[in-house]
């Protein structure tokens, strides 16, 4: 990682690849202590236009060291940008944006989406701005905010609710830092209810930040307590199918949580 940082400081645009996000911990010092602070500590004398690509997340029988979500460990760090797109067209646009970005970007790719998600990708060069969420499905009764693999499951669950006569809005964050506060707040002010879904464990996770932000800025617009549907507070998911399935959130549970909130 430090070598890539040196290349970036020397004016190249390196893309450092961490084979699995679980292996990123030895590079924590370089990412947090060096890359994220290069521009700041030199007051702009040096910059670090670095992209770190890494596959994260579980549901693929990856066990303890090939399944973790790492975003909460890094989203506390000013100076870093973090994206976690989940649709092929978004991935291309955000990867181009990350490479062109003058600051370090942690680019998270959910492993299970590699083979389970298909989608059209526009030809030619284009970028999608970092920091912009995308409303993947419009709705009026409930806002669901998610990112990564669970966006796809949340969309399936929202379709089920649709069939039952309920209108659910699904927002794909795409960028975790900076976060698109405007899109989230506008949606919550409209639907008055918020469900946050992510695979990473709940305590201190991205959902905690979204929840705090909505409570601070849109408390009086809420008609129900914010609900977070997240991974359990355990160190990792086990290898055994039963342990992995217990960790991961099935679409049925997402639909259930949506029904509860719509009915609140």
């Amino acid at each position: 990682m430090g070598i890539a940082i040196g290349m970036a400081m020397e004016g190249l645009r390196p893309i450092a690849e961490i084979q699995f996000a679980d292996f990123i911990y030895p590079a924590f010092n370089q990412i947090v202590g060096e890359a994220a602070k290069t521009r700041y500590r030199s007051n702009g004398d040096y910059t670090c236009p670095l992209v770190i690509r890494t596959p994260y997340g579980g549901g693929i029988r990856g066990a303890l060291s090939h399944s973790v979500s790492i975003e909460a460990l890094f989203y506390h760090v000013p100076g870093l940008k973090i994206v976690a797109p989940s649709f092929p067209a978004d991935i291309k646009g955000l990867l181009n944006a990350a490479i062109e970005d003058p600051d370090p970007v942690l680019f998270l790719e959910h492993k299970k989406t590699y083979r389970s998600v298909k989608g059209e990708v526009p030809t030619g060069h284009y970028t999608i701005p970092i920091g912009k969420a995308d409303v993947k499905k419009a709705g009026t009764q409930l806002t669901v905010v998610s990112y990564g693999l669970y966006v796809h499951q949340a969309l399936d669950a929202a379709q089920q609710l649709e069939a039952e006569g309920h209108s659910v809005e699904v927002i794909d964050l795409r960028s975790i830092r900076p976060m698109d506060r405007t899109t989230i707040l506008e949606s919550v002010r409209k639907t008055r209810k918020l469900l946050i879904i992510h695979e990473d464990n709940k305590f201190g996770g991205i959902g905690a930040e979204i929840s705090a932000m909505v409570v601070e800025d849109a408390f009086f617009d809420l008609d129900a307590p914010i609900r977070r549907l997240c991974g359990p507070d355990v160190p990792a998911m086990g290898y055994a199918l039963t342990l992995e399935e217990e960790f991961m959130i099935p679409t049925s549970r997402m639909a259930e949580a949506m029904r509860d909130l719509v009915a609140f």
């Binding site: 990682m1 430090g2 070598i3 890539a4 940082i5 040196g6 290349m7 970036a8 400081m9 020397e10 004016g11 190249l12 390196p14 030895p26 010092n29 370089q30 202590g33 060096e34 290069t38 521009r39 700041y40 500590r41 030199s42 007051n43 702009g44 004398d45 040096y46 910059t47 000013p78 100076g79 940008k81 003058p102 600051d103 506060r181 932000m213």
Partner: protein
């Protein structure tokens, strides 16, 4: 006859009288600035200072081998003389101590944690050995861009060679034959940890063998010897022949920093036992013996340097701190909302 033995012909490795005098001046400026930091701290004017007494020979010698405008320096926090030697003005050292707005880092960084892209100096980290991978990355960039005749000088203390990142850096550089020189300033102490508690070997250059690069040991109190070794290593790097590990032995005469009291871990006798290694009087004596400077020259030089350091001290002290709002600048390119 006896006189001839006392003053053998100087092996100057191509260094002119002018360069030798510049090296002496660099060493005296370094020591004066160093002492100024400790004085200002004891006067309560600055919160913290780091010294480099004992490293002057390494810095003056290595700086002469550095090609300004071509090479890149990846320094650490004890490299004040090296940074001065490659062109950093003494005022910058004082601006760093006083954390003034005019400091290149805008008063953000600790004293001695310089940055100067124009001079080819990377931004200094406090994290031991963190700069070694950066140095290798810069050298890798030179190689990928086929920028021959450029090299990276990467410096660190003996303690850094116990860090994983140091080993990763040396290994990667050796594999790819990168144009980088690893210069270890071995002053025997990693803050309060003596060398024998850092490693089971006596010479750090023994670590080079395991990674397949040459290791060269040099007397760090002898700036001419340091110049010769670092110059040869940098020339080798620029010629595409790969990295070298240079171990320059010296002794740290001051505490690690003004916040460290070395009386808790080493004796005064030990320091005095090493006093013969002090590079400044040694080099003065050598140049005197060789007739390159006179005693009057040295006295005048010291007076002139003190006046300059006094002047830049006053200048830096009189300058303002950064505006509080500067806290929010340069987090990212463009605007950033720090109070979400």
């Amino acid at each position: 006859m006896a006189k001839a033995i006392d003053t053998p012909a100087l092996e100057r490795h191509g260094l002119s009288d002018e360069q030798l005098r510049a090296m002496l001046r660099n060493m005296i400026v370094q020591r004066t600035v160093d002492n100024r930091g400790f004085q200002l701290n004891r006067q309560g004017k600055i919160p913290f200072a780091t010294g480099s007494e004992g490293h002057e020979g390494i810095h003056a010698g290595a700086a002469q081998a550095f090609h300004r405008g071509r090479d890149v320096l990846a320094p650490y926090y004890r490299d004040i003389g090296l940074c001065l030697g490659i062109g950093m003005p003494p005022l910058d050292a004082l601006l760093s101590m006083f954390a003034r707005a005019a400091d290149i880092s805008g008063g953000r960084q600790f004293p001695n944690h310089y940055t100067n892209k124009k001079l080819g100096m990377l931004s200094v980290s406090s994290i031991i050995a963190a700069q070694c991978t950066h140095a290798v990355g810069v050298a890798y960039a030179f190689k990928l861009r086929k920028e021959h005749d450029r090299a990276v000088l990467c410096t660190f203390g003996d303690g850094a060679t116990s860090e994983g990142e140091w080993h990763e850096s040396v290994n990667f550089a050796a594999i790819h034959k990168l144009p980088v020189v690893f210069l270890c300033e071995n002053n025997e102490w990693a803050i309060s940890t003596p060398r024998e508690h850092q490693m089971a070997i006596k010479d750090i250059i023994a670590k080079a063998e395991g990674y397949g690069l040459p290791g060269v040991k040099v007397d760090g109190s002898d700036p001419i010897a340091v110049y010769a070794v670092v110059n040869a290593a940098l020339e080798r790097a620029r010629a595409g022949e790969g990295p070298t590990l240079v171990e320059a032995k010296c002794y740290r005469f001051l505490s690690h920093t003004t916040d460290d009291d070395d009386r808790t871990y080493r004796t005064r006798e030990e320091i005095e036992r090493h006093r013969y290694l002090d590079p400044v009087p040694r080099f003065e004596k050598l140049l005197l013996e060789q007739g390159i400077v006179s005693a009057d020259d040295i006295a005048a030089l010291k007076k002139e340097v003190l006046a300059e350091v006094n002047a830049v001290t006053d200048e830096a002290e009189a300058l303002p701190y950064p505006e509080p709002a500067e806290l929010y600048a340069n987090v990212y390119e463009g605007t950033h909302e720090p109070w979400l």
